[in-house]
Amino acid sequence: MVPTTSFPDHELIADRPLTEDEELYKENIIDHYKHPRHFGRLGKYSCTHLEHNPLCGDRFQVYLSIDKENVTDVSFEGQGCAISMASMSLLSEKIMGMSIVEVRRLGPWDIFNLLGIKISHTRSKCALLSLKAVQQALALQQQSQQPLPQLLQQQTQQSTQQPLQQHRQPIQQPIPQPIPGERKTKKEEISWL
């Protein structure tokens, strides 16, 4: 677990205005962005979840390995901006070995403290994507042990359980060959209307 005290308390920072870009993009954040920890896919995992930020196209798939009470291993794949990537990387370090109850209790301020910088309203969506992904993965794991009514279950599966791979495939449309003699150059009536 990474000590969270390596940054000053978030509330202290929030009290003074942000003057430099360097304030937001501290060395530590850039380092986690360029060299994310726990990046990749676990060989064996208990639960996984893909979370999107439709605003900027960030997406992370989280893999969690858990025993009865604790998170035993964690990894993630995906792409995002410096804030979301650093947040995902820092959070992965933090939750290693934490109890599931503790992880589910983490709130926005824990993430802001991890990042150690002032986060604007819009960027908080980037910062909190990591937490959403991890907590949703755990929530779905718990849900699967208490089945929902069938109708709702189908919806949950449709909306959340798409593997990341699907989103990366470029759109390929088959191109039909023209049928000889079928083409006409003159303007046709729009007969189907």
């Binding site: 900027c56 901006c81 989103h167 303007k187 729009i190 209307l193």
Partner: protein, 430 residues
């Protein structure tokens, strides 16, 4: 028709009306009343000093547009097509005039202009009403550069009608592959729906050629003109498109206000999109008779203030002259391309020529959201992300891009400010 509408109808044929119409239609050829170098002062929000480079998302509004809308609520507020008292008659007249102003602006007829809440609703209207006529196996043809609003409605229609959705691929330059377009258009193609000006690549598509191809196969062609109508003269008769959609808020007008143009003979054959008051002639407990065009497609109390705001925006643009607006946009985009391409590690998307006044780009190793954030902190407003065109960005193999887009109030100094801020971004991430 109500007595008011009849009166306006007869006025429309009157001498005064024709004179006015001739004047507005030839507006572009007249010397411009508004000067582009000074029009920035007409936009109250810009007085804050913001470098606003996100006009493809929404433009700022000139005072005349804000005034037109305020005047309606302060002095003219009444429902349209309903009251027979003077206030309502005046509101009705102004609302109908707004249709005529829009019609003149794109060289359409009064009956061919339907007011919607935006391009998205205009396209949804078509996906719904045209969709009802599709048979299983019919094909809908889009391009790979479409905005979500010109993809998602068709996906749903295709699913409901068991129709097939196909995409015309792009060339490496970011233009529509016309050879592939020819192959893809067959007798099975019923609907072709394409952007006039790509909101990501800036590409201006050859609508006339695509319309010809579509018509030769008996298909209808729909033009998503959200990005073109604000920046260049658009003539629906010249394009020979069957339908054309655009939004008010991207052309100096208000949000929640959009337009659908459709050829009269086609609109007459379509069934309504929404049902309720205003779109009917007669209602019994079991059946209803639809109103005349364009009201058949305008159910419920419309966005009256929005319509008056859009009319004011068009009047303002005409005072500048759309030829001048287009020339100004070209000057800015060519300058931007030249300045931006000198930055190491930048990749500019889309073609270099024959493009609209916007530039999307990526900076190597830096996420567009970080670029947008640092720019924003330095008072430069640019768009970051996928710009509602996720499939295109996936196809290009990038997660997002940064976009700078221009309008009448932008200057070369704004672009210099952008270049300076991009250098700062690179320093932070070096």
């Amino acid at each position: 028709m109500t007595p008011v509408a009849e009166r306006i109808g007869s006025e429309r044929q009157g001498e005064q009306f024709l004179k006015k119409k001739a004047r507005t239609r030839n507006g572009n050829k007249h010397s411009s009343v508004l000067d582009l170098t000074t029009c920035r002062k007409d936009f109250p929000l810009l007085k804050s000093g913001i470098i606003y480079l996100d006009s493809s998302a929404t433009t700022q509004k000139p005072q005349v547009v804000i005034d037109a809308m305020n005047r309606y609520y302060e002095e003219e507020n009444a429902n349209v097509h309903r009251g027979i008292y003077a206030l309502s008659e005046q509101a009705t007249q102004k609302y109908e005039q707004a249709h005529q102003i829009v019609a003149d602006f794109i060289n359409a007829e009064f009956e061919e202009i339907i007011f919607t809440k935006g391009t998205t609703e205009s396209l949804n209207l078509l996906a719904s009403s045209l969709g009802k006529l599709l048979q299983p196996g019919d094909e809908i043809l889009l391009t790979e550069m479409e905005h979500h609003s010109n993809i998602v409605p068709w996906q749903q229609t295709a699913k409901e009608r068991q129709a097939i959705l196909k995409y015309i691929p792009l060339t490496s330059k970011g233009t529509v592959d016309m050879a592939k377009a020819k192959q893809l258009m067959t007798r099975k193609t019923k609907i072709v729906s394409v952007a006039h000006l790509s909101n990501v690549l800036g590409t201006i598509n050859p609508i006339k050629e695509l319309a010809q191809l579509a018509h030769s196969q008996g298909a209808v062609i729909i033009v998503d003109a959200a990005q073109s109508v604000p920046h260049m003269p658009v003539d629906v008769k010249d394009l020979d498109c069957d339908f054309l959609a655009f939004s008010g808020h991207k052309m100096l007008g208000p949000t929640g206000m959009g337009v659908l143009y459709g050829k009269k003979q086609l609109l007459e054959k379509l069934s309504p999109y929404q049902y309720g008051g205003g779109m009917i002639k007669e209602v019994t407990f079991q059946h209803s008779m639809w109103n005349d065009l364009p009201w058949k497609f305008e159910a419920g109390t419309p966005n009256i203030a929005g319509a008056l705001g859009l009319a004011a925006a068009i009047t303002y643009l005409k005072k500048i002259g759309m030829e001048n607006v287009a020339r100004h946009g070209q000057e800015l985009v060519q300058y931007a391309l030249q300045q931006l391409s000198a930055i190491p590690g930048i990749t500019i998307l889309g073609p270099r020529e024959h493009r609209g006044p916007l530039v999307s780009f990526t900076l190597e190793g830096i996420h567009s959201h970080d670029v947008g954030d640092i720019a924003g902190r330095n008072n430069v407003a640019v768009r970051a992300g996928h710009h509602c065109a996720m499939p295109l960005h996936h196809q290009l193999g990038i997660s997002g891009s940064t976009r700078a887009s221009f309008s009448v109030y932008n200057t070369k100094e704004d672009i210099d400010a952008l270049v300076a801020v991009l250098k700062k971004v690179k320093e932070v991430f070096q």
